[in-house]
C-alpha cells in the first residue's frame, strides 16, 4: 500500500513538472494545462495520504513472490521486441514459452501443448479477422 502511495506521488510529480510547459488558459477559458495540473496536485496529496495510511495501518499482508511479476513482464517484453523482426507467430510462441516456462516448470509436455495452443489461437483470430500483419519472419 505504501508502495502505491509512493508511485502515485511519483506519477503526480512527473505530471506536474511536464504540465508546467503547457500553455495556461487566458481570461475566461481554460487552457490545456489546468486539468492535468489540478489532477496531479490532487494526486500528490492523495499519494501522501495513501502512503501514510499504508505505513500507519500496517495490515498483515502475506508476502508474495515477485517472480511471477517478472516472468509475465519479461514475456510481454519479449513479444514487443520480437514481433517486428520475427513476425506474429514466433513472437507469440516466445511470449507463451516464457510464461509457461515459469508457470509449468515441472511439466514439459503441458508446456509444449500450451505454447502450441497459444500459437494456434492467435493464428486463428488473426486469420478470421483478416488482420494485416506478417505471421512469419519476412523472407530475406
Amino acid at each position: 500500500v505504501a508502495a502505491l502511495g509512493v508511485l502515485l506521488i511519483g506519477v503526480a510529480g512527473a505530471a506536474i513538472i511536464s504540465s508546467f510547459e503547457l500553455p495556461s488558459g487566458r481570461g475566461f477559458s481554460m487552457g490545456p494545462r489546468e486539468m492535468p495540473f489540478a489532477l496531479a496536485a490532487l494526486l500528490t496529496v492523495l499519494g501522501v495520504i495513501v502512503a501514510v495510511e499504508g505505513i500507519v495501518r500496517q495490515r498483515v499482508v502475506a508476502r508474495a513472490s515477485l517472480w511471477p511479476l517478472f516472468a509475465v513482464l519479461a514475456a510481454a517484453a519479449a513479444f514487443a521486441l520480437a514481433i517486428q523482426p520475427l513476425g506474429l507467430l514466433p513472437a507469440t510462441a516466445l511470449a507463451a514459452a516464457i510464461t509457461a516456462g515459469y508457470a509449468l516448470r515441472a511439466r514439459p509436455a503441458v508446456m509444449i501443448a500450451t505454447v502450441i495452443i497459444s500459437v494456434l489461437a492467435v493464428w486463428a483470430v488473426a486469420t478470421l479477422l483478416g488482420l494485416p500483419m506478417p505471421l512469419w519472419p519476412r523472407e530475406l
Binding site: A12, L22, L88, A103, L104, T114, V115, V122, L129
Partner: protein, 504 residues
C-alpha cells in the same frame, strides 16, 4: 407505446441479420466458455473481447461485446454452481434443477430489465439533451463520487484510483489547442493512452500475475465475494439500483470484480441457494447499466466502462445523440442483450454440463495462452510494439492495485469519463466567464453536487454496516450435501439491516 414496440422490433431485426446474429451467438459462447475457465475476472474477459470487437463492423462488434458480457454472467453462475458442489440430476422441490433456476433468474434479471431500459431510454435521452455542460459535469462528478463512496476499502485509495484514471486520460494531444500533454516527449503517446491497452494491462495482465502468485503460494489471493441470499426479485431490484448508482454494498450479491467466489479460493465458495439470486442481480445490473451508458454516455461499472470503450473504438461516442442519430445501433445493442439471453438459454440447456468441465483446466497452463493472446491483441490495434510495452506498465500497475486493495474498476471508469469531464468543465467555465459562483448557482448542479456529498457520507455508513457480512467466516456456510437439497432460493428475505437505511 407503439413507437416503443416498433423501435424494439427494429432492434431485433438489426440484430437478426446473419453477421450480427453470428457475432452475438459466438460472443455469448465465448463469454460463457471464458468465464468458466479458472482465475480470470469478468472484467478481464470483456477487456480481452475488445480487440476482437475492433476487427468487426460496429454493430457486429458491439453485439459481440454485449453478448460476451451476458455470456460471462451465465458462465460465472455455472462455474459457481459446480464449485458449490452441484451435481446434475439433483432436483428441487418445485421440480426445477438449479441450472434451470439460473437460466430463469438471468432471463428475469437481464431480459426484463433490458426491455425496461428500452422503454425508458428515449425519455432519458431527451432529458439528457436538456442538460448543459455544467449539469453534465456535476453528473459525472456524482457518478465518480458515488463509485468511490460505495467501494469497500480505503476511500483515499478509491479516490486516488479515480484521479489517476483521470490523469492518465489527459495524456496526449489536447483537442482544443493541439498541445501535446504529458507525453514525456514520446511520440507514441501523442494519441493518448489507448483504452484497450489500459484495460488489458490493468485487468488481464494484472489478473495473470495475481493468479500465478496465488497458485505459486498455493493460497488464496484477493478477497472473495460472498454473494448473499437474495431472491431473484430482490436481486433484480438491487441490480437496477446498483446500476444507477455504482454501488458495491447494495450488490454484495452482484459484486463485479471477484464475481462470485474466486475459484482459486476454496474459502469463498457460494452455496447453491445463493446463486440464482446473485445471477439475477448481476444480469439486472448489466442490463440496467446500459441505461446511463447508452443515453448519457456515463459508465457506472467497470463492465460498462469497457462497453463504452468498445463504442469509442468504433468511433461512436455514447450519449444522448446515439438514440436519435444511430437508432439502428442503439436498438441493436438492446436487441443483442435479448438475443444473447435466448442463445444462452439454448447453450446452457444443451451444453451446460459439458462446458462446466472446462473449469478443471489448470491455471498454470491457461496463463501463458491468455498472456500471449493479450500481447497479440494489443499489438493488433495499432501494429505498435510500444503499445505492448505500455501494457507491461499497466500490468504492473494493475497488480500493484490488487495488492494495495484498490479498485481497478474505478480507474477504468475515470479513464473513460476523463475527456468528457474536462471538455464539459472547460465549456461551462467558458459559458460562466470563469465565475464559479454562476456555475454553482444552477439548481441541478447544486443538487447533484450535494447529492454526491451526501452519498459519499452515506456510502461509508452503509459499507460499515455490510463489513460484517463480507467477513462471514466460511464455516458458517452449509455443507455441500445440505445445499443440494430442496430449497433453491429463498424468495422474499427481509432486507439485511444495513440496506434498510438506504435511500429508496
Amino acid at each position: 407505446m407503439m413507437d416503443f414496440v416498433s423501435d424494439f422490433a427494429r432492434g431485433l431485426l438489426v440484430i437478426l441479420s446473419p453477421t450480427n446474429l453470428g457475432a452475438c451467438v459466438i460472443g455469448a459462447l465465448a463469454g460463457i466458455i471464458a468465464a468458466i475457465l479458472p482465475g480470470i475476472s469478468a472484467t478481464a474477459l470483456i477487456a480481452l473481447a475488445l480487440p476482437i470487437s475492433f476487427g468487426l463492423p460496429p454493430m457486429a462488434g458491439l453485439a459481440f461485446m454485449v453478448a460476451a458480457a451476458v455470456g460471462m454472467l451465465y458462465g460465472r453462475a455455472l462455474a459457481a454452481l459446480y464449485l458449490a458442489g452441484y451435481e446434475p440430476g439433483v432436483r428441487a422441490s418445485g421440480g426445477l434443477s438449479p441450472l434451470t433456476m439460473i437460466i430463469l433468474a438471468s432471463l428475469v434479471g437481464g431480459g426484463l430489465v433490458a426491455i425496461g431500459v428500452a422503454a425508458l431510454a428515449p425519455m432519458v435521452a431527451k432529458l439528457a439533451l436538456l442538460l448543459g455542460p455544467a449539469e453534465y459535469t456535476a453528473l459525472m462528478i456524482f457518478v465518480l463520487v458515488a463509485g468511490a463512496a460505495f467501494t469497500p476499502g480505503s476511500i483515499f485509495r478509491s479516490i486516488a484510483a479515480i484521479v489517476l484514471g483521470l490523469l492518465l486520460s489527459t495524456i496526449g494531444i489536447d483537442l482544443e489547442t493541439g498541445a501535446a500533454r504529458l507525453t514525456l516527449g514520446i511520440p507514441e503517446l501523442a494519441d493518448g493512452v489507448g483504452f484497450v491497452t489500459l484495460a488489458i494491462g490493468v485487468f488481464v495482465v494484472g489478473d495473470i500475475i495475481r493468479g500465478l502468485v496465488a497458485t505459486e503460494a498455493e493460497q488464496s489471493a484477493g478477497r472473495a465475494a460472498h454473494p448473499s441470499s437474495f431472491g431473484i426479485g430482490r436481486g433484480t431490484q438491487l441490480g437496477i439500483l446498483a446500476a444507477i448508482v455504482p454501488d458495491r454494498s447494495l450488490t454484495i450479491a452482484a459484486s463485479e470484480t471477484p464475481e462470485y467466489a474466486d475459484p482459486l479460493d476454496p474459502a469463498g465458495r457460494d452455496s447453491v441457494d445463493d446463486i440464482p439470486g446473485a445471477t439475477a442481480a448481476n444480469n439486472a445490473r448489466l442490463s440496467a447499466s446500459l441505461l446511463p451508458m447508452l443515453t448519457l454516455g456515463l459508465p457506472t461499472s467497470a463492465l460498462a466502462a469497457l462497453l463504452v470503450g468498445a463504442f469509442t473504438i468504433h468511433g461512436i461516442v455514447p450519449g444522448p445523440q446515439v438514440i436519435s442519430k444511430q437508432p439502428d445501433l442503439f436498438w441493436g445493442v438492446l436487441g443483442a442483450v435479448i438475443v444473447a439471453h435466448v442463445a444462452l438459454l439454448v447453450i446452457m440447456k444443451t451444453l451446460g454440463h459439458s462446458l462446466a468441465r472446462l473449469r478443471r483446466i489448470s491455471y498454470q497452463s491457461l496463463a501463458p495462452i491468455i498472456l500471449a493472446y493479450s500481447c497479440f491483441a494489443i499489438y493488433s490495434i495499432n501494429n505498435s510494439p510500444f503499445d505492448v510495452a505500455l501494457m507491461i506498465g499497466f500490468g504492473a500497475l494493475g497488480y500493484l492495485l490488487i495488492r494495495a486493495d484498490c479498485d481497478r474498476g474505478l480507474l477504468a471508469i475515470a479513464f473513460v469519463l476523463g475527456p468528457l469531464l474536462e471538455e464539459n468543465i472547460r465549456r461551462s467555465m467558458l459559458i460562466a466567464r470563469g465565475n464559479f459562483e454562476t456555475i454553482l448557482a444552477r439548481p441541478i448542479v447544486t443538487t447533484l453536487l450535494l447529492a454526491a456529498l451526501v452519498l459519499a457520507l452515506l456510502g461509508r455508513l452503509l459499507l460499515r454496516g455490510s463489513a460484517n457480512l463480507e467477513r462471514r467466516p466460511p464455516q458458517q456456510q452449509p455443507t455441500v450435501r445440505a445445499q443440494a437439497q430442496p430449497v433453491i432460493w429463498r424468495r422474499w428475505l427481509p432486507l439485511p439491516p444495513h440496506l434498510k437505511r438506504s435511500s429508496w
